[in-house]
Assembly symmetry: C2
């Protein structure tokens, strides 16, 4: 069975950089944003639309099974789309896991690929260092104040948590769902990735 | 400043073995149970009494500052003893941290030694593997059923959490209080300690 490493992360914690460098050090594939394109292709939807679906919270109160019943009578079309996106996401992740060793960031991969016994990492950091990281990486057209950035970080994490909790029935960020939870506060991400790549070789 | 590594751990997770092996691999001091003797000596109390004080929950509802006020009028003598034990514990830990690099298990060391910038590790595992580990290590005079062992594990963790929360004002096991949270479920503790000793060299 291929070696699968999944990364879940708080927004602004450097989880994506950590995952990317880890894959680079281990000489294995790294999947992140390209998963969206693959899902879009499989679900026959635009990338933008898929991105919107996976980045916003799922519709509350209706688990997929109920959603499908309503959707069948045409009342909850968005839920049908959400379900097709999640199904495509599951298929895409399974295909990637079958292909080769890899690091996968986000997309509930830790849960979806549980039968592959992945090594599950959760990356986090304290709020000041997440704000600092996000401010440093802001594009020129995204000039937020620190207060606005904090609000954005909390919103993104809330959406991630809701999405994860809804589809997995588990609690996002709860330590029991991961092999290791890594705090990047005050740490050099490159050095951390280097250290963990030795461990995961 | 000396390198201080603190280990907090769920009961039965193998945190003590992990800490001991880590110290061995790093060639640095390891402190665990001997801290109790040092506290007893400093507070002029018996080891057994100190053990009882630090292993049971602190008295609820009375933070130390209030407790001392009551104690001054002789109403809450046990709180005075608890306070003197905690004071001795603080002094002992600071002396150890000043002496040399070390690994310290338990005793709120992550919080008490925060000015030494320790590397703070939380070790945990799922309940079945903690029960298994504890059953395997039971002494002949402690023959508990799995159900009884589970109850014991929960009780010990509850006491640890209450003690930690009371004295630190933080939440025991909450990821933000640690540099890394390590799940030992299904892992070889020796290999884990080996890996982390490379990282912490």
């Amino acid at each position: 069975m291929n070696k699968i490493i999944t990364i879940s992360r708080e927004f602004g914690s450097g989880g994506r950089e950590f995952g990317c460098r880890l894959a680079e050090n281990l000489g294995i594939k790294y999947y992140d944003k390209e998963i969206i394109s693959k899902i879009a292709e499989k679900a026959d939807l635009s990338e933008g639309y898929v991105k919107e679906v996976v980045e916003k919270r799922p519709m509350p109160l209706f688990p997929m099974t109920i959603g499908a019943t309503f959707a069948a009578v045409g009342v909850y079309y968005p839920l049908m789309v959400e379900e097709s996106v999640y199904t495509a996401q599951t298929e895409v992740l399974q295909e990637l896991a079958e292909q080769s060793d890899c690091v996968i960031v986000g997309r509930c991969a830790d849960y979806i690929l549980r039968s592959y016994n992945p090594f599950k990492i959760f990356v986090y950091a304290d709020m000041p260092s997440r704000i600092k990281r996000c401010m440093e990486r802001s594009t020129p057209d995204e000039q937020l104040t620190e207060k606005e950035m904090k609000k954005k970080i909390n919103n993104v994490d809330e959406s991630r948590a809701k999405y994860y909790d809804f589809y997995t029935g588990q609690k996002w960020g709860a330590r029991q769902n991961y092999n290791v939870c890594i705090n990047t506060t005050g740490m050099d991400i490159g050095a951390l990735a280097e250290a963990y790549s030795h461990m995961l070789k």
